[in-house]
Symmetry: none
């Protein structure tokens, strides 16, 4: 089995759309689906009815309570969204993103692609967890791709790009790239200590400051060693503070 | 208006699918639809309901009795079909075909793309009229693209190939990437405070720890805003320490 990305449906609403997304994936040979808190519970009969020949993807789909848990083991996370949100995250076309994903997978990484719920799309907090944003170059006057269509185009590009990649790879050093869960815990560590230290001030700006900081960590190409260093920096500063207290 | 291909729906059955095809086209800026003897007559209320924002394409769609009439003015005709039929017609991927179409259009040609009815696909007589066959590289174990999905992928490739302007970018935010000197001063700031805090310990490892940390900063794609945040983190932690001292 060729290595392939996980496609993560975040808070999908209609079962039909989950089934249609499964069909779209399997049309291009992808069968690793993850689902974050589907609105109508799970399993979903409407999803199964729509998936027909791709029902196996639903049977083996993994369920998660939140986005962080669903991407915990990923070393690189892509988020599909039509709207650039004033974040500094790199934006790629589906083509470039799936080229990048194919390279990373060839190098032994685990990658995930986030797809938002039908109406609202991904929330800023989900997008802030992504290393790369995928934006489909739609007609600005009519950007109306639905969930399954977005999955379809991404899966199509995956198949195109995976056929190309052979020997190239992005090399992260001896112990590899940090997984999203490790970056998450790093972000939390800083957030906790900085909260104690009164960093998120004034109050009405705290939420946006937190998101900015979270997004910053996600954008950094961190290895496991880098994560340890950043933890070490914080621990040492706090220890030093407490010693002098 | 950029020159663009005509998308020709041959004997489409469900009005919903005609509407969905219109939406798929307009997502990628295509608005020249032709329809060959739709099963349920024309106009079709179900098509209009599904098309919503792309309804204009249905209003201006041209109707024909047979495929020959619909492609009468085309200098090059592509036929989308999953099945190679033992014809000598060249087969192209959507990507190559739309590259080819963009070149022809730039050279003043008129090109048409045929899409077959939902269940049966194009008949041999239709395919025999095509100069080029377009086959989407689907999973051979699950080739189940529907009409609107086939239109979507072809329109997507059209837009990719026709667009000279890339929409991709790594956007560094309002005030841009940090300059090397700014990163240097950030690295120094951390090095000084961490030295005070006893971070570089034991002594015989201190030089290599310093180098590792310096290298870490250099590898990060930092914006000016990121640099300010990292300075702010450190200052706040130190201030907090000193307050408690």
């Amino acid at each position: 089995m060729t290595r392939q990305p996980d496609f993560v449906l975040v808070r999908p609403q209609m079962g039909e759309n989950i089934g249609a997304a499964a069909r779209a994936m399997w049309n291009f040979g992808l069968d690793r689906m993850r689902i974050v808190s589907p609105r109508d519970g799970w399993p979903n009969p409407a999803a199964a009815a729509m998936a027909s020949g791709a029902g196996r993807l639903l049977d083996t789909a993994q369920l998660f309570d939140d986005t962080a848990a669903a991407i915990d083991d990923a070393t690189h996370v892509y988020a599909t969204t039509a709207r650039p949100r004033g974040m500094t995250t790199p934006v790629m076309s589906p083509e470039r993103a799936m080229q990048d994903a194919a390279l990373r997978l060839a190098g032994g990484e685990r990658v995930s692609v986030l797809f938002g719920p039908e109406r609202a799309g991904l929330e800023n907090d989900d997008i802030a967890r992504a290393n790369t944003i995928i934006t489909v170059p739609v007609n600005p006057a009519f950007p109306s791709l639905n969930l399954a269509q977005c999955v379809l185009l991404t899966a199509y590009e995956w198949r195109r790009q995976a056929a190309e990649v052979t020997h190239e790879a992005v090399v992260p050093g001896p112990d590899g790239w940090a997984e999203a869960g490790e970056v998450e815990r790093l972000a939390e560590h800083y957030e906790e200590r900085l909260t104690e230290a009164g960093f998120f001030f004034p109050e009405h700006k705290a939420a946006s400051m937190r998101r900015t900081l979270r997004n910053l960590w996600s954008r950094m190409p961190l290895t496991k060693a880098d994560v340890r260093i950043f933890h070490g920096i914080l621990r040492q500063l706090v220890r030093d503070r407490d010693r002098k207290t």
